[in-house]
Amino acid sequence: MEAAAQSDAAAEQTPEAVFLSASADLYRVVFAFTGGQRQVAEDAVAEAFARAIPRWHKIKEPRGWLFRTAFRCAAKDLRRRQLTDDGDPGDRPVEDMTDLIRALRAISPKQRAAIVLHFEMDLPVAEVAERLGVSPSTASVHIHRGRKRLAALLGESEEGSQ
């Protein structure tokens, strides 16, 4: 039984299994991280997997590694775009999300990612920290400040501060 459970656990951690189970969430968080730049998010996610797969067996916790790598790739791409003014017409926010994207672009990338991971993906602070590659206290600050700023920009939610 134990061997079977280990085998199941290993199967759940194959590159393909992780891709199928995590890539959509990863894309959406990176999409938020980039302030709604779809091409950057897509490239960052694909790049993270492309980098992870050759060294898969060395990575202890693939999901966290993939998130951190995708954030780094996206941040690098965003910096390059700022330097070269490499805009992409495909990165215009969809109409329904104009307010959200505008608000997200008013806070830092890590704040964007932190609030999506915490409030949208329901991850506890410790896991948000692990995904971002920061300490739990830093993650808490990102969540708190990001939430406060979003509330100021988009209005407090009906449920209160949550």
Partner: protein
């Protein structure tokens, strides 16, 4: 204003691009190429296999190749509908496009250079372009059928300067009837009979390879 939480919920419905999909068509052999406008094809290697994700078209064939220093290097050829690109694995850079080759196998100067002596033959996968391509053992000739129908094979022994053992790069264009039949996708059986170059095709094949090949929305012409 609907409140920040309501707005944030929209992130959960952001559509994931189709090109960000996983294709692992034949484990350990080949995959479908992703081509982005800015970054080209993104590939990753696992052991003998080449895993490629994304689905914007093109033909990819890859496998583990002997490098000049005796090591084994993952290498992939991708036909993007306009020409062949060669990608070689580099431990520092990942897959990097090393050259842009000619329009078809054998037509580009230096095509397949360094693509010699495959450790194992490997298959190609077609997607949209209606072309099946691959790389087989060196010094071989190939005849092919697709769903039992004989098809023309374009192949070449790669003229690689400095290497004694070229590999064979081949491509098979789907018969028009089959391409139309599978316009919305489907599976075809491809059989390759591999003959040693010194033996005329028609005799006993040196090897017979048969694989099902998944097609997806075969579209002739551009894959963009």
């Amino acid at each position: 204003m609907t409140g920040w939480r309501s707005e944030l919920n929209k992130i959960g419905s952001v559509e994931v691009p189709e090109s960000l999909s996983w294709d692992r068509v034949q484990p350990g052999t080949s995959g479908v190429a992703r081509r982005s406008s800015r970054r080209g094809v993104r590939l990753a290697a696992v052991g003998l296999g080449i895993f490629v994700f994304g689905a914007l078209g093109g033909v990819a064939a890859g496998g583990l190749m002997h490098a000049p220093d005796g090591s084994s290097v993952p290498k992939v050829l991708v036909h993007d509908g306009q020409g062949w690109n060669q990608y070689v694995w580099d431990s520092d850079k990942g897959f990097a496009c090393t050259q842009l080759a000619g329009d078809a196998p054998g037509s580009g100067e230096g095509f397949g250079c360094g693509m010699h002596d495959p450790v194992q033959p490997f298959w190609a996968v077609t997607r949209r372009s209606g072309v099946i391509a691959g790389i087989l053992y060196p010094h071989t000739q190939i005849s092919a059928t697709v769903d039992g129908e004989a098809v023309a094979v374009e192949s070449t022994n790669c003229p690689c300067g400095g290497y004694d053992v070229p590999s064979v790069v081949f491509s098979v264009e789907l018969p028009k009837t089959l391409a139309e039949e599978h316009a919305a996708g489907g599976v075809v059986w491809v059989t390759l009979e591999v003959h040693e170059s010194s033996h005329a095709p028609g005799g006993t094949p040196w090897a017979t390879l048969q694989e099902s090949v998944a097609l997806d929305s075969v579209e002739s012409g551009s894959n963009t």
